[in-house]
Symmetry: C2
Subunit: 343 residues, 2 copies
Amino acid sequence: MTEVRNKQVVLRDYVSGFPKESDMNIVEGTITLKLPEGSDEVLLKNLYLSCDPYMRILMTKVEDPDFFSNYKPGSPLTGYGVSKVVESGDPDYKKGDLVWGITKWEEFSLIPSSLILFKIEHTDVPLSYYTGILGMPGVTAYAGFFEVGSPKKGENVFVSAASGAVGQLVGQFAKLNDCYVVGSAGSKDKVDLLKNKLGFDEAFNYKEETDLNATLKRYFPEGIDIYFENVGGKTLDAVLLNMRVHGRIPICGMISQYNLTQPEGVTNLANLIFKRVRMEGFMVTEYYHLYPKFLEFVLPHIREGKIVYVEDIAEGLENGPTALVGLFSGRNVGKQVLVVARD
Amino acid sequence: MTEVRNKQVVLRDYVSGFPKESDMNIVEGTITLKLPEGSDEVLLKNLYLSCDPYMRILMTKVEDPDFFSNYKPGSPLTGYGVSKVVESGDPDYKKGDLVWGITKWEEFSLIPSSLILFKIEHTDVPLSYYTGILGMPGVTAYAGFFEVGSPKKGENVFVSAASGAVGQLVGQFAKLNDCYVVGSAGSKDKVDLLKNKLGFDEAFNYKEETDLNATLKRYFPEGIDIYFENVGGKTLDAVLLNMRVHGRIPICGMISQYNLTQPEGVTNLANLIFKRVRMEGFMVTEYYHLYPKFLEFVLPHIREGKIVYVEDIAEGLENGPTALVGLFSGRNVGKQVLVVARD
Ligand SMILES: NC(=O)c1ccc[n+]([C@@H]2O[C@H](COP(=O)([O-])OP(=O)(O)OC[C@H]3O[C@@H](n4cnc5c(N)ncnc54)[C@H](OP(=O)(O)O)[C@@H]3O)[C@@H](O)[C@H]2O)c1
Ligand SMILES: NC(=O)c1ccc[n+]([C@@H]2O[C@H](COP(=O)([O-])OP(=O)(O)OC[C@H]3O[C@@H](n4cnc5c(N)ncnc54)[C@H](OP(=O)(O)O)[C@@H]3O)[C@@H](O)[C@H]2O)c1
């Protein structure tokens, strides 16, 4: 039997407040590169792992997890990733297949094949894209903007965490839909990126604005039709003062709240009534049936350079904790990817 | 010319904080009971006036009113009412017609006929009902529950301000739709009314509950599918912890916030994401096209006693300020009507 090293990123203990690198340990275990006799599972070699904000939520000790079950101290993190099939007990997959879906933060993983979401068919684009534009964040941006946001041509769109994995796509989808798009992000470099590379009409650094309501009034003198919500808290509160009649707020995430023991209060909700605004939470997991349609839409745009995608690549599992924790200080510029192996 | 007395309820000055009776004056003017030469307006005798929570919002000095324009100090309040046409410059109306729509808080009003919403055709039911179940609050409950709430049979429905003009109807509509319905209200008598007369499955006095989250968990062990939002603030925050996956929150009003200079913060909005909840503000003014359909639905139920309607009747314009102000302390039991004249 071929027993090999299997480095893992393991949760040390439940987290409260902001996550730190020291909340995770790098552990060197071993794994036998052979499926157990009669197993219907799949053995994966993990290539690219995705650093996602929701992972913080799974680090909290909670009673009633609604999405994936949350992390257990001593066990490796789970998350989205791109992997290569080493051996398969499920006839749908065979050695050498490239797949994306839920895997573990380790070099090799033995997992139920039901955690695999899709076989990767198109490899003329970077494989890491299947953690981003062609993976979960891509479907999130697509479903959140088009299905939940119901955009009309020419509408005014505001995106927060706009340079991130999801936000940069929402902005580009909105431009393809002839909308006026403004993004907010946390540094001058990100603002430049939004305006010069990602095609946003305008962008601002929210950390430098002292009166977000006034800032939004400046960029949206006629109000916001769609606010793609990634951050929550103060930004949402200011947005509520600037929504247009019949506006929509797809609620994708509220990253500014994930590390607070007591979330901030949002005070301007009564504007939803007078402006007849729809605010709607959604989870990408309910939209994977759109994946084929999404690929058909997005792949040609990528190939023609009409949609670009900014990635922030960290090398090696041992840098996973830093990369993951960095999401909550805005250290990442674009989609945060962790490379475990390139093939 | 027949000049007669025209008593009015006039705003004294803009209001901040809770409204008081002394924020309004009773003024005795006169009016000529004759249309000015060539006028296309209508001269109305006001019979029943409607006391509505939104009227408080029009008493605030604001820059950018979105609904009606707000009240001016020295002028009579405007509001919904049932009136009889005295003289009409608009061929669509003639002397003796009964109408409901927007009128002024006075005995006789000269108004543009565009403020009239509907001619009253059915008089086998109490005329005052056209300020309530057959008027604006009725359409509000109908549109908010059926159109915005998208109820399915057997769902779990929670209604706040449940014994009020709108709430008592939402509960009865939900029961007709085979839902499980719980209401909250501010006194023991109202709770009894909800359970014994209005057909709610359960009801509680929110003023006596120290932990609203626990209360809701008790009444909704499996969660809430539809929360019909009338009050906002702490109630909404507790509800957000108890919504079921794919729940809906039609936001009709937030009466607990109308008198606060700084609205309360709502902290549990992130639950909208994980539970994929839709929260949607609406205004009855966008649903009056449903009025004929609504009448067809509701009139037979009233006649057969399958829907009942509780009114709280105040007599005489001079009691208008007390009646109106009472909405904000829960003094009213059922729809607050003000009788100016009975015919
Ligand atoms: N509903 C779903 O199914 C679903 C799926 C995927 C993602 N999401 C959500 O979508 C949002 C974006 O995810 P993503 O993958 O695209 O992440 P990302 O934007 O690539 O990375 C997170 C970014 O959030 C910003 N941020 C961190 N703390 C913040 C704070 N306190 N206030 C404002 N911004 C802050 C940082 O950028 P700055 O430098 O700009 O601050 C950081 O780079 C997250 O809320 C995530 O949970 C939801
Ligand atoms: N969107 C629209 O088009 C539209 C149309 C009509 C009405 N509305 C809204 O619908 C809601 C109900 O209106 P309604 O006409 O049916 O009024 P109502 O319920 O007949 O009267 C108001 C009731 O609100 C309750 N209340 C007052 N202050 C409160 C507080 N701080 N916390 C909790 N409850 C409080 C009181 O009952 P308790 O004794 O139970 O506290 C009071 O009796 C209001 O928010 C109103 O603005 C909206």
